[in-house]
């Protein structure tokens, strides 16, 4: 019996019982569709988070004051246990690290911003000229903060796009004087719309020189220092250099925390990857159930077609002919189910993307292959037992059964 004949025979057999075949395919396809949709959801969430972080740039190191660490008795913590301020001078010193290309100190606070008769609450961000390049922002009008000594409190401000619209409406903003907190500042530029990043809407921020912000908020310490390393590979050595510099400035004690973008990203990546795998596993259970269903259906088929099997044996079919025919039938059922499921799954994922546009709910390639593979292998695996039973039937008894 040629493979083509086996395939044809099995196809005819599967199509010979349309209701049974349809139900089987449905069960299998639900399993595969569940895997596809759930992994699309999980992976979509993962990609969403990663995109949010990537918006910050991928070769960044963030320095924040204070450190959560268990340290021994040192000169530093003998005198005081409170972390020292992270100052503008520290930020300048960090720029001396060879693998660092840019730094941007950050001093952040809420304040009032007013122009004409309009007043609103806005977050003021004190930073430096390099922040524009580090965050990959673009100017709509004017220019960003001037390149100057970080200690100089120039009376200038740069507005986010939304803030500009709300304060100035149709009027030109650049060159006007606004009030931020208790200071009068000149607007020197407006940023292009860039949207949400890490839950903070950049379009609603006002940027001022860091010294101006510190004076406004009456503080010496910085909120963060954002540092750009030369490349992604340079992150780890750059981090070490930065730690050395900070230690040198703190009598050997490291009282700042350095976070690389990579570490944060990696953690989220791992958590959400595990989550995706978890939901895929849950969905895979339905595939196992579908596999058992294949077995049940094929066992019924063997019982139903006992007479036919006896006849085939009488006509000279060998055991392996019959085994192969039934196995092929089981494989065909699983295959049809798997591909229907794949279609349904992609339809579901498309629906998800339609319903939640911010979620890039594309099923990952591995999940598609894993779903198809599991469907096929469970179908065939659970098809083996019925096929063997069919092949072993005693022809005399099989023929007697009608």
């Amino acid at each position: 019996m040629s493979p083509a004949d086996t395939l044809r025979f099995a196809t005819r057999a599967a199509l010979g019982y349309p209701l049974r075949t349809a139900l089987m395919v449905l069960a299998m396809s639900i399993g595969v569709a569940a895997v596809v949709v759930l992994t699309a959801l999980g992976d979509g969430a993962r990609r969403y988070v990663i995109n949010e972080f990537s918006a910050l740039g991928t070769n960044l190191i963030i320095v924040l004051p204070g450190r959560t660490a268990t340290g021994g008795l040192g000169l530093g913590n003998l005198i005081t246990s409170t972390p020292r301020d992270l100052t503008v001078r520290d930020a300048e010193a960090l720029l001396r690290a060879p693998l660092v290309t840019r730094i941007a100190p950050l001093s952040v606070g809420n304040s009032e911003i007013a122009y004409g008769g309009r007043l609103r609450e806005a977050m003021a961000v004190g930073t430096s000229a390099d922040y524009l390049a580090i965050r990959d922002f673009h100017m709509a009008q004017g220019q960003f903060l001037p390149r100057e000594d970080l200690g100089r409190a120039s009376a200038v401000a740069v507005l986010g796009a939304t803030l500009r619209d709300e304060l100035f409406g149709a009027e030109a903003a650049v060159g006007r004087m606004i009030r931020v907190g208790d200071r009068r500042l000149r607007v020197i530029g407006v940023l292009q719309k860039s949207g949400q990043a890490l839950g903070m809407n950049t379009d609603e921020l006002v940027f001022v020189p860091v010294a101006t912000a510190q004076a406004m908020f009456n503080t010496n310490t910085l909120f963060r220092v954002i540092i750009e390393a030369r490349s992604r590979d340079a992150l780890t050595p750059a981090k070490r250099q930065l730690e050395d510099i900070m230690r040198g400035r703190r009598e050997g004690e490291l009282d700042v925390t350095l976070i690389t973008q990579d570490a944060v990203l990696g953690t989220f990546d791992r958590i959400l990857g595990a989550l995706t795998l978890g939901v895929a596993g849950i969905a895979a259970i339905s595939l196992a159930v579908a596999g058992i269903l294949v077995m049940n259906v094929m066992l019924v088929a063997v019982t139903q077609r006992t007479g036919e099997i006896g006849l085939l044996k009488a006509l000279g079919a060998t055991g392996s002919n019959i085994r192969l025919a039934f196995l092929t039938e089981a494989a065909l059922l699983s295959l049809a189910g798997a591909f229907t499921g794949l279609g349904l799954g992609h339809l579901g994922a498309w629906g998800l993307r339609l319903a939640f546009p911010i979620l890039p709910a594309w099923p990952p390639d591995w999940a598609v292959f894993a779903g198809l593979g599991t469907a096929l292998s469970t179908g065939i695996l659970f098809g083996v037992m019925p096929a063997r039973r069919a092949a072993r039937l005693d022809p005399v008894q099989a023929l007697a059964k009608r």
């Binding site: 019996m1 040629s2 004949d5 025979f9 005819r12 057999a13 199509l15 010979g16 007479g307 036919e308 006896g310 006849l311 085939l312 044996k313 009488a314 006509l315 000279g316 079919a317 060998t318 055991g319 392996s320 002919n321 022809p395 005399v396 023929l399 009608r402």
Partner: protein
């Protein structure tokens, strides 16, 4: 050398604790081209005998030589090969595959033997013509009359040009007229040289055979060769 030689065949079925001697010390030889009826009451072992002859069943003791070859010791796959090429079966209940058309049912043995599609189509077309089934080729068994079904079954049994045809009550499910047609068809095949062995408890059908084997309680009680006597008109 006879085509079929059975020597001291024993077949014992175990049903629970008791043993049933389905065949007991059966020895018989049948020449190529013979027309043999195996007769006897229900339970006399005639069907078991036919199953043994068709290699569907194995004797507990004794030897079965088919065309000089001891077939009882063959492996299952070798026996399948012998069934495929040398033996044609005709059953009382036809045993057609319900989802296949008449032509496809006839082609089944060719498919199992791995004959290519073109050759298959040619031989099936000839068989359909020979058995007057041309107009029914594309019909499924449930669209055929009993007589047509049995003709499809006989066409299937002969498509591999076997050496013998084993028929188990071939007219049992047919009315009298159709039964006679089918009998005539089988006899025609026999006349062309194929050994025909028919199991029946219909004495009319049995009496048409040139040789009658009468069985009772698993034993061969009478071997009547009508051909040597004066043939009835």
């Amino acid at each position: 050398m006879a085509q079929i030689e059975l020597d001291g065949i024993e077949r014992i079925f175990t049903l629970g604790d008791s043993q049933v001697h389905a065949l007991h010390a059966v020895s018989v030889s049948i020449e190529a081209g013979e027309y043999v009826a195996v007769m006897g009451p229900s339970g006399s072992g005639k069907s078991t005998m036919l199953n043994l002859l068709g290699l569907l069943d194995h004797p507990n003791a004794g030897t079965y030589r088919l065309e000089g070859r001891d077939v009882t010791t063959l492996s299952p796959d070798e026996q399948a090969e012998v069934r495929r090429s040398r033996i044609g079966f005709v059953f009382q209940s036809f045993h057609l595959v319900p989802r296949l058309t008449a032509a496809e049912n006839i082609a089944l043995p060719l498919m199992l033997a791995g004959v290519n599609l073109a050759e298959r189509a040619k031989r099936v077309a000839r068989a359909l013509k020979d058995f007057g089934l041309e107009s029914r080729a594309g019909h499924r068994p449930d669209e055929l009359s009993g007589g047509q079904r049995q003709r499809v079954a006989i066409a299937r049994a002969t498509i591999m040009r076997p050496a013998m045809i084993l028929a188990d009550e071939p007219t049992g499910n047919l009315d009298r007229a159709t039964g006679q047609d089918v009998t005539a068809l089988l006899e025609e095949l026999n006349a062309s040289g194929v050994t025909l062995i028919v199991v029946t408890h219909d004495p009319v059908m049995g009496s048409r055979a040139r040789r009658q084997l009468l069985m009772e309680d698993g034993a061969l009680v009478q071997d009547l060769n009508v051909a040597r006597q004066a043939a009835p008109a």
